[in-house]
Amino acid sequence: MDKLGLDPTVVARARRLAERAGAPVVQLARSHTTVSVERAVLRLAGVSGADSDGIPWVNRLVDAVRADVGLGHGVAVPVFDALAREGLDDVTVLAQKAAAGSVRFGVPERSGPAKRAARRATTAGLKRVDRRRIERERLIARLGDAPRRPWIYLIVATGDIYEDIPQAQAAARAGADVIAVIRSTGQSLLDYVPEGATREGFAGTYATQENFRLMRSALDETSRELGRYVRLTNYASGLCMPEMAVMAGLERLDMMLNDSMYGILFRDINPIRTFVDQRFSRQIHARAGIIINTGEDNYLTTADAVEAAHTVTVSQLLNEYFAHEAGLADWQLGLGHAFEINPEVPDSFRMELAHALLARELFPDAPLKWMPPTKHMTGDVFRGNLLDGFFNLAGVLTGQGILLVGMMTEAVVTPWLSDRDIALQNVRYVLGGAGDLHEDFVPAPGGFIRSRAHHVLGEAVELLEKIVDDTLLNAIADGTFGIMKRPADRGKGLDGVAAQEPGYFNPVLPAEDQR
């Protein structure tokens, strides 16, 4: 597909610039660790459960290690050293003892045995992740996959896992290929992952390993009933991003929202914390065969979708670079973008087509995530359903990979059962009625759509040049993305970051990532 006639040398230049802009941040990520990265390691090593206050044992254990020796060496060696010293073989028991204050942690001179033990333990966890990945592949082979692209992606958001489940199953029966369970407001700022099945979220349901398990198993049942594998999505974001990635791998989630900057911009999480957590979580996603979804769509809710169109492109290129660097393949890159131009703007629909096609042609092998209108949705639900229809059409005409279904009540409430049904009807009509209309969609040479796409790409290259000169962290501090200004030394969770000491050891990371 070449409908825009983009200049390959400009495209190549944009990619090179993104790499140059991103490289220092990768360097930063490689030289730091965070409490959540270390907790994620412990989760893979088999630590589970929580204390009577609901604080997970991984938190208690990491806190204990940190209090004794800091985080700079990683927790693996101190923990497995202590485990051996205490003569235990269950790390969770160690965590309980540590929480009671009866264990001391240190970095042994001879770290070989502890490293080996740690690697054994985490390899067992990674093997479970691998098995889940194979299980997914088998289920898809056996049951069948989504019948077409784009995949139809629906959210549930009742706050109660036991209301979410039947709604998700109903949505799948009604045609959804992917179910996302939205998280409760506030969870992303918790520096621990809640435990167990939950019923009390606000505008979303807590992401817990048990909730993951319950929903995945309900959808497995529905998948069998429908004869097609229904995918499940959650969020590897917030202060526990790495742990979410591990839990997703362990419970066979299929896609995870995972952006390199979302937490910084929209949750005011510290930039360094985010970049470190992000890299680790993507390494896990790579291994788990999980598709990530990035969050460029969000920029267009705070910035203007026309003025800031090129910031989406820049961010997609950065997300692509970070993802590749962490080991993700192109098919795992659900790069985000959105239909957020003010519908009153002349030629708004044509401009949406230009932007959507630009993303499509820049990332031909990525399953782009196409987000519906939200910002310009109003309480006029009749108009809302219409806008969603044109959003769906733009998705079909430009070959988007993952269609996040828009709801007519976007400006009113988290989706009702009937909203989802109306929205799916809308999608079905547009996908069925327009069919292969993209064949007849040929942007006129020199016409509006091509010019607009070229223009946006040009602006993106310019912005990347500036970022390369000035550093990405400064660009973020200046409000380049989503007009949110986030200096590198501010934001939540910075105290959970530690520079790696010489000899930092993380049994989950590949050899080249060990100091």
Partner: protein, 244 residues
Amino acid sequence: MSVVRPYGDTTGDGMVQVSFTLPLAHDKRAEGAALQLAGNMGLDPAMLVHARPMGEGYTFFVVYGRVTHLVDTGKVQVVERDYPLLGAKEINAVIKRRLRRRLSVVGACIGTDAHTVGIDAILNVKGIAGEKGLEYYRELAVTNMGAQVSVPELVETARAQKADAVLVSQVVTQRDAHLHNTRAMSAAFREALPAGRRPLLIVGGPRFDELMAAELGVDRIFGRGTTPRDVASYLVHALLGDRK
């Protein structure tokens, strides 16, 4: 379950959506008026989510909210199908056995209403929803008078065809045209024929309230989504009783 509430996204949340226009220019007071109306309709709390001025002096509103009303399914009034749904074969067989002649049906769209698609769906062989129409039934003699039939013509034809049943369609409902026409029709039959010789009177159309049969002086009302089999089965039931 016997008492239920509307469902938004949680059992028992009672959520509904309402829209309407008030003949008031758009301002805070008009929004308050919209909320007053929503309150009267039982929305509490009511969220006014959209207000749009239209021309001068009119405003359109969309309101969401929780209704306080409960729905008692035990007290629902509905015209349930109180007869068995039969197949074409059975229907023909019952008529043949019990009536010993073809059952005569006269159909028409009366008044100035020219919407024949509905009555044709019931009467013509072509039918609807995969079911053949009454003309397809060997033991039914169907006279389809078409549209814009006046009540005197209809009574006349019913008499001439010795109609066992008269089927009338009404689609236009503005200013209750369907109700006026139906009342006029049933009155004319009452006047023209003594009780014993009057055909079964059936009306149908998408906007009738099926509970109004008695009030309109007809034997039965059929609404949205009626199929020919529904009607044929009812005819057999009402005219020949259920016993086979």
